[in-house]
Amino acid sequence: MSESKVRTGYVRPLDIKHGQVDMAHGSGGRAMAQLIEELFAKYLGNEYLAQGDDGALLPAPGAGKLVMATDCHVVSPLFFPGGDIGCLSVHGTINDVAMMGAQPLWLAAGFILEEGFKLADLARIVQSMAAAAKAAGVPVVTGDTKVVERGKADGVFITTTGVGVVVPGMELSGNKARPGDVILLSGTLGDHGMAIMAERESLGFESPIVSDTAALHGLIAAMRASGADIHVLRDPTRGGLATTLNEIAKQSGVGMMLQEKALPVLPAVDAACEFLGLDPLYVANEGKLVAICAESDAEKLLATMRAHPLGVNAAIVGAVHEDAHHFVQMTTGFGGKRIVDWLSGEQLPRIC
């Protein structure tokens, strides 16, 4: 009998000739990573794109460095408990810039509008963007608008691009996790994803779950001020914490061990996930971050995060170790062990 030799991380190449885009390519999981690697990175590749983070670290005239990040937003429904596509599009890109250790400065916004979309709804969305940008101190300084025929889009799609300057001494990347490092999470898992899920008409259940959408650069500034030796910051959006940690493990060439009992999850989110057969580890967040730091600074960093309004439920959830296979594993609350794999397929389309 010929036994399989599992090839870690092996993915059958994209079938460019016959294949078609399917919804899994937008899930944030392994299928999307493959599309980026085998198509976008292959043809558009350069030293900055090759950094493989959520934003690019760029040289700037003078001594400093710039970070540039972009994010498309296609969330459905456009309005959901705790937010809407407007504030989400501001928070999402600010967070991508901030996770690179940069102070976000400016945003650009591109709108694709569908013919027939109500101006009153558009006004609500733009007002929400304005409020979010003002609160964050990051103005929208340029933009573009296109309109497509009815049926060619779904109301409004928004793309935002952010630029920031790197704070000296804060060069972060997903490739800087080291064995012995500690993994911290800034709060409860899955709030955004389950808030969207509960709103989808077909499910027909009511829940008190509210999206966690928020700009995290303030929390990061506090973390930076603590002086802790932070190696990686990343916001676990689509694909959830599980996929984010797998990305980092791959980029850094390390393994990770999570403690299931330490993962913060709101009871309502936990119950909704249970009901729908979902795992909070894979559900999207829009106002949470993962921080990986030197073990000696973990407690100090945790205390700093908990003292900030966006980090009150922060927790130490695991540690980094050497592993040639780059597995993210977890000690279950039950006392066994298992892999925490990349998101496979798609949990819920158009989450952000």
């Binding site: 399989s4 030799k5 092996y10 059958r12 078609q20 039950f334 006392g335 066994g336 298992r338 892999i339």
Partner: protein, 375 residues
């Protein structure tokens, strides 16, 4: 979560693990099949095997609805969507099951098929009401647990007088699958699948009760313990099975007494009997064609039978030559014994059906346990 966390308690698990270690005779090996994918998933997700002694081995059974769905049935659904232009509704796991020509329902959707994931059969009926100009077909799969909701949907459609709703019925029966495994030469003659007992289905048993398993215990002398889908349920059932084996008993015991009794849900059974009847035969993936193992829609409800409405013929299609799903579903091989496992067959690009659903033996091992193969 109340009534859930209690059944996932690590401290209780430690105690049970210790009890199992004490009960298990170190002089012998124990091989138990968990019939249901729900149990397979629980075992992998919570790491139950890590708490079992080395001489207790769990064998994954065929009770994963999408795993036993043959290519020919998925092809029928795809043809309905792509060639007949229907709105095809089905449960999420079905979307990625590999079919002919490298297609799946998800890929057929990308080719323009109107294919929708629904959480319940009632959603499909609601869609038909909302879009009277569309033909809505519910691709109904699953064991006895999902059958009553399909019966409800058909009766609801009849009551509403819907002319644009029908069901492609692929519901299968648990006892037939258990018989097929017990009758297989690997179990009966060759002994290549040592089988000392079964963990019986949880949700299926809430419908059919514990009585149908009595035949297996008596006729084949195999103990059956019906268990819930929580990890402590599984551990407790394993302990009960070990006791039966040690004492030479072969009985049906019920660990899941909080939800299952001997007779099951009579109301649901009557509803199913009213709407469905036995098919003479049905092809299962991995278990081949089994007599009286699946249901079809009674002629009284023929106007809701997509097979009749769209004159569908059934074309059996062989699995990929190197795919071991059949042997894995019968407990003859383990996922890691298949040379496609983790190489060309992964959850993103499943070749076999066991790699699709989180309840499938291959997907469960790939997603939760493959670190053990390279350790």
């Amino acid at each position: 979560m109340k009534y859930i966390d209690e059944f996932r308690d690590g401290e209780v698990a430690k105690g049970l693990a210790e009890a199992i270690r004490r009960e298990a005779n170190p002089e012998r090996r124990y091989h138990f099949m968990e019939f249901c994918g729900g149990h397979t998933h629980a075992i992998s997700r919570y790491g139950v095997s890590d708490l079992l002694p080395d001489n207790v081995r769990m064998i994954h059974g065929p009770g994963c609805p999408v795993c036993v769905l043959p290519i020919g049935r998925v092809d029928q659904a795809i043809r309905l969507a792509l060639e007949q232009g229907v709105t095809l509704c089905t449960y999420g796991d079905c979307l990625r099951v590999p079919a002919s020509d490298g297609l799946s329902l998800m890929k057929a959707k990308a080719r323009g098929g109107d294919i929708r994931m629904v959480y319940s059969s009632a959603d499909a009926v609601a869609l038909a009401q909302k879009y009277p100009e569309k033909q809505v077909v519910f691709f109904a799969i699953g064991f006895e647990t999902t059958t009553p909701p399909t019966a409800v949907a058909i009766k609801q459609a009849a009551a509403l007088g819907l002319k644009n709703f029908s069901v492609l019925c692929c519901h299968v029966l648990t006892p037939s699958a258990i018989s097929s495994i017990l009758e297989s030469p690997e179990v009966r003659q060759w002994g290549t699948v040592p089988l000392d007992g079964f963990i019986g289905p949880a949700h299926v048993s809430t419908i059919i009760g514990s009585r149908p398993y009595e035949f297996f215990a008596e006729e084949y002398r195999k103990p059956v313990v019906i268990a819930g889908f929580e990890p402590l349920d599984v551990m407790q059932a394993i302990r009960m099975l070990i006791c039966q084996v040690n004492e030479g008993r072969a009985e049906v015991e019920n660990e899941f007494s909080r939800a299952v009794d001997r007779e099951g849900n009579l109301k649901a059974q009557n509803l199913v009997a009213e709407v469905f009847e036995m098919r003479k035969q049905f092809e299962w993936r991995g278990l081949n064609v089994l007599p009286y193992s699946a249901l079809r829609i009674r002629s009284h409800f023929a106007e809701f039978d997509a097979e009749k409405l769209f004159s569908l013929s059934y074309q059996p299609v062989a699995d990929h030559k190197a795919c071991e799903c059949g042997a894995i579903l019968r407990g003859v091989k383990r996922p890691q014994d298949c040379k496609l496992f983790g190489t060309v067959c992964t959850p993103e690009n499943a070749v076999g059906s066991c790699m699709v659903s989180s309840e499938g033996a291959c997907a469960a091992h790939y997603t939760y346990g493959r670190y053990k193969d390279v350790a």
